[in-house]
Amino acid sequence: MGIFDFFSKKQQTDLDEGLQKSKEGFLSKITKAIAGKSKIDVDVLDGLEEALVSSDVGLDTTIKIIDRIEQRAARDKYTTSSELNELIRDEISTLIIENSKNDIQSLEELLVNRKPYIVMVVGVNGAGKTTTIGKLANQFKLLNKKVILGAADTFRAAAVDQLEVWAQRANVEMIRSQMGADPASVAFQAVEKGVADNADVIIIDTAGRLHNRVDLMNELQKIKRVIQKIVPDAPHDVLLVLDGSTGQNAIEQAKHFTAATQVTSLAITKLDGTAKGGVIIGIIDQFKIPVRYIGVGEAIDKLQIFNAKAFVSSMLK
């Protein structure tokens, strides 16, 4: 698989670098599982289960992948471990790609017929919401879009100041209120301002909250309702930010946030550095919500639009 028309060489390199550790970990585990094997037996499948599970793919998805491999092995005959290796990668690629039909190619696609395009960003504490917003704002800005940020995390100490720094870095405007203010009112003001100023993009930051806190989940609903008073079909995206090093609790997070706010897309952060790219495979399979962005590095340009083919190319080839 080569470079894709829209996917710049730089982006692919960033992705390759960011996923380097994941790739090494993941592939070496698979290779180890099938070393010297020419047919798929219980040992291979057990080894594969270990390789997948210890990359945070999750049990359900792991079992699914193993079933598929088993079925295919029953059909075809494999004679070398490299053929076997190929087959396994092939099945995983297929799983990722067939579940990612709604991938976007560029941020502009999101703006079609939506002006302003309004995104509400949600997630648990420490997932990387504010950082993701900063990076996203920067990317929209680089496309010459007018961006307004709404600092609706009025709860965590200095969260507003943190977003402010990002707003300055990306050179975009930010609407703020004082600490402890009603987050819904901040969101309202941001949307109001965005509409008045004919902004292209409005991104609302919210306070981190654990998904099992019903009261805080209700607060998100309120923010959403209030935004809809100005723009009835908003928010156009509810972006759930998941920490890439989270384990199986990511599934619970997605469930609860979706129940409260109808999450429409996911951002997986902190994927660089360690061997955790596998979590994306499980997430893609388990949620019917598209992965929209992945964070593969700390720098402001290291937030990428997720592209299944590029990801597969980086992770598995």
Partner: protein
């Protein structure tokens, strides 16, 4: 998925029905089930494997008690093992020194800053210390502001220098400041870093070297997945930290990372952090964590209580009486007392996985037995042994003697008869848990 490990174990243990001992053959499926449940709770795959092998070893040859099902027994063994692995008892926390220096380290977003201020408050209120917090995260936007705001809230001083870009310089000055102001503990909050970021790891190694901390705490998000093993190892290799802090435990994560980390680096978990309020800090309880990872109610205490009260000989006696339909009021009274000895009825029911919710709003107290006891105590020894003797005249006497209405006495005797029938059928159905089920099903 594994909402209830207990139930899954019961399922896996179908093979064990009618067998008195746990053997290599009949336990195999259960062990696999356990391993998957652990992995699903984010315990590292390899560790889960080693762990279940240990459990198997312990379980082999164990007798299956009548009052405790094999599934419950295995769960108990696991819980004990988990508890032991996670450190058994709470670990010491060293705040000696002039000042004592505590270095906080961890990944981005793990909760270091929030923990730093919780620890400061804990030391101030629980240990009567005069802590100073030092803001060394010069990278994340507004991280210093965050600590300053938190410090103000809890009224504990923060040393910060927004002009400086050197965490080391800030830390050293912070310690000087503490000495000058008589602060006896310095807590150094640092930036989040990836274990593979060589520069950042060098930076914190240098911080360690130059500040000679009395305690280095590794802060980790309890929702962390399989990668916990690599991260913990990498941080420990560089810092040789003294203890672990588990954060965001107020969520619904099972927290298998806790086991992974203690198992991998052999360091105790010293604190758990449970929310954003400054007071929401707890010392670590390995046993509670074990139960959480296993996703069970406090079945362990239940099993322990059942084991403590379990008189095998007596149980067999009652068993045979049920079989012969000779179960009488004396036996019933005995069982009633057994249950009462185990503790509060509502607590007891709450310990059974799945029952906690069901009894939450129901008013059950041990007094509910009083009426029944009064009726039984009003019987003659002969009547207690032969429930069939109780005709209308005798029942009227019982009502008078126990202060109940005749209807209440009739209702109880009817219930007793029904229970007897049910116990007999339950006995046919299952060989385990009979004596308890009989009464609880009433």
């Amino acid at each position: 998925m594994f909402e209830n490990l207990q139930e899954r174990l019961e399922g896996a243990f179908k093979t064990l029905k009618g067998q008195g001992k746990i053997t290599e053959i009949n336990v195999a499926e259960t062990i696999k089930e356990i391993r998957r449940a652990l992995v699903d709770a984010d315990v590292n795959y390899k560790i889960a494997k080693e762990f279940t092998d240990r459990v198997k070893e312990k379980a082999l040859g164990q007798n299956v008690l009548t009052a405790v099902s094999p599934g419950q027994l295995i769960t108990k063994i696991m819980s004990d093992e988990l508890t032991e692995l996670m450190g058994g008892t709470a670990a010491d926390f060293n705040v000696k020194g002039t000042p004592a220096v505590i270095l906080i380290a961890g990944l981005q977003g793990s909760g270091k800053t929030t923990f730093t201020h919780k620890l400061a408050l804990f030391l101030k209120t629980q240990k009567f210390k005069r802590p100073l917090m030092v803001a060394c995260d010069v990278y994340r936007p507004a991280a210093i502001d965050q600590l300053m705001v938190l410090g103000e809230k809890i009224n504990i001083p923060v040393y910060a220098d927004k002009e400086s870009t050197s965490p080391l310089a800030i830390a050293l000055k912070g310690i000087e400041e503490a000495k000058a102001n008589g602060n006896d503990v310095v807590i150094i909050d640092t930036a989040g870093r990836l274990a593979v970021d060589e520069d950042m790891m060098n930076e914190i190694s240098l911080l360690k070297e130059k500040t000679s901390p009395t305690e280095i705490l590794f802060v980790v998000d309890s929702m962390t997945g399989q990668d916990a093993v690599n991260t913990a190892k990498a941080f420990n290799d560089r810092l040789n930290f003294d203890g672990v802090v588990l954060t965001k435990l107020d969520g619904d994560t099972r927290g298998g990372a806790a086991l992974t980390i203690t198992y991998t680096v052999g360091k105790p978990i010293k604190f758990v952090s449970l929310g954003e309020k400054a007071e929401a800090l707890d010392v670590f309880h390995p046993d509670r964590m074990a139960q959480r990872i296993l996703g069970m109610g406090d079945i362990v205490s239940f099993v322990e209580k059942a084991q403590a009260q379990y008189d095998e000989k007596k149980a067999r006696e009652i068993e045979s009486k049920i079989r012969k339909n000779q179960f009488n009021f004396n036996d019933f009274l005995y069982q009633l007392n057994q249950i009462k000895k185990m503790g509060n009825m509502k607590d007891l029911l709450g310990m059974i996985p799945g029952m906690g919710k069901a009894v939450k709003d129901v008013d059950i107290n041990n007094d509910s037995f009083k009426k029944i006891e009064a009726i039984i105590y009003s019987m003659t020894p002969k009547e207690r042994e032969n429930p069939d003797l109780l005709d209308g005249k005798r029942r009227a006497r019982l009502a008078k003697g126990s202060g109940n209405s005749i209807q209440e006495v009739n209702a109880f005797i009817k219930q007793f008869d029904e229970m007897k029938k049910m116990m007999k059928s339950v006995q046919k159905m299952s060989d385990s848990g009979r004596s308890l089920k009989g009464i609880m099903g009433k």
